[in-house]
């Protein structure tokens, strides 16, 4: 991988990740990934009036994985859960100005982690 492969936006989110860190007492947690391929992503959400009032991520992974999680949190913060669930893998990559082909699975992970966090919240709520 080289700096050249990544867009300025990817590098910006990598260098200055938004909403990064662990969340105390989250309402929902989504963990996806597999250390075999080198990426593990965790997304924490707080939900208020069916909206994502706060969101944080932690990522073990490459530049693309870190920037994908960062931008995904930015894209859905403040959105209703149903709106957030519409976030697709493609949205994440497009917002970053594109990702190298072999790194596209990183954007998948970000969308998947978010969905997992929302599902976790909904499961807990109905309990």
């Amino acid at each position: 991988m080289t700096t050249d492969m990544y867009t300025e936006k990817v590098l910006d989110h990598f260098r200055n990740p938004r909403n990064m860190g662990k969340m105390e007492n989250p309402d929902g947690v989504g963990k996806v990934g597999n250390p075999n391929c080198g990426d593990i992503m965790v997304i924490y959400i707080k939900v208020k009036d069916d909206r994502i009032s706060d969101i944080k991520f932690q990522t073990f992974g490459c530049t693309a994985a870190i920037s994908s999680s960062s931008i995904a949190t930015e894209l859905v913060k403040g959105k209703t859960l149903d709106e957030a669930l519409k976030l697709t893998r493609g949205d994440v990559a497009n917002e970053l100005g594109g990702l190298p082909a072999i790194k596209m699975h990183c954007s998948n992970l970000a969308a998947d982690a978010l969905k997992a966090a929302i599902e976790d919240y909904r499961k807990k709520k109905t309990r």
């Binding site: 860190g21 250390p35 075999n36 932690q58 073990f60 992974g61 530049t63």
Partner: protein
Amino acid sequence: MQKIYMDYGATTPVDKEVLDEMLPFFDKYYGNASSIHSFGIDAFNAVEEARERVAKIIGAKNDEIIFTAGGTESDNIAIKGVAFKNKDKKSSKGYNIITCAIEHPAVLETCKYLDSIGYKVKFLPVDKYGIIKLEDLEKAISKDTFLITIMFANNEIGTIEPMQEIGKIAKKHNVLFHTDAVQAVGKVPIDVNKLNIDLLSISSHKIYGPKGIGALYIRKGVKLQPILHGGGHELGLRSSTYNTPGIVGLGKACELGLKRMDEDVLHMTTLRDQLIKNVLEIEESYLNGHFSKRLCNNAHFRFTAIEGESLNMMLNDAGIAAATGSACSSKKLKASHVLTGIGLTPELAHGSLRLSLGRKSTKEEVEYVCDTIPGVVKKLRNMSPLWNR
């Protein structure tokens, strides 16, 4: 911003003395070394002088060196050359070729290819330092075995294999011994006769020579089947018009490498030990490879809970050029076969960092790197869900 190159294991800059010696061969002495006129003779003489210089750095004779396009080509010519010469031993009961799990892809993939067309290949496992077990090697040899190919020193973790012992075993069983010495030449004294090496691959760009040129040592009497067919250059094994500037460059690089070896080794060892000592002060950081049976310029680390590509990107942002495993591995998105070969889980293998020093590395550069790494590791660990401290 200051830029620090600490990836000499990937490639080296061409030494000024090497470049100066090469330049006239582009436009002044441009003749084809195979031509019989004076232009050709000038080029021919330069090629032969270079051959002598290459031979000298490994204790070989001039007529035991052929020029190739690089380490990969040398490995292919040697391994396939021996295999094709012994094709009657295909589909045998015992192993034909014995190699190891952490070889460079140039050897590994060549052996896998030969395996796929009917040769029997044994890929020996290595211990946690990356060293082959000699008893495994000896056990794998049978009357069907015609080649052992084990690297001199590993390109990722810097481990030096027991060449002397392997050479003895090969000789005892009358099996040819090839070694990819691309990383070792210029950093380890080599005498092919003392080590009983029959075939040895050299690359120019790892020893301050130009890219696209290499050499293969072939012990007198060892017969290879050519894999390139054409004009019959280089004992019929490497047809192609002589790359005179490249050959001259490799020759000069070998001459300088031999002359400076003691000084270079001492310099790089001092810096390497300083790097290792300082970096290992970071909590949950580990050295991959062996502490002493190690190339003088290689420091290879792993850090719990962080991933190597992002680590290298952040170091690059800080002006430091390093590597995570072999540069080629990163394109495959697979944990390095060397690191899984020494028993690391993919998770641990991903957090690896190779720093490789060179002749021109300085104490100041090492200090800057040692000062920078802890902060970068900390930043990535703060992001990591696998770091819970």
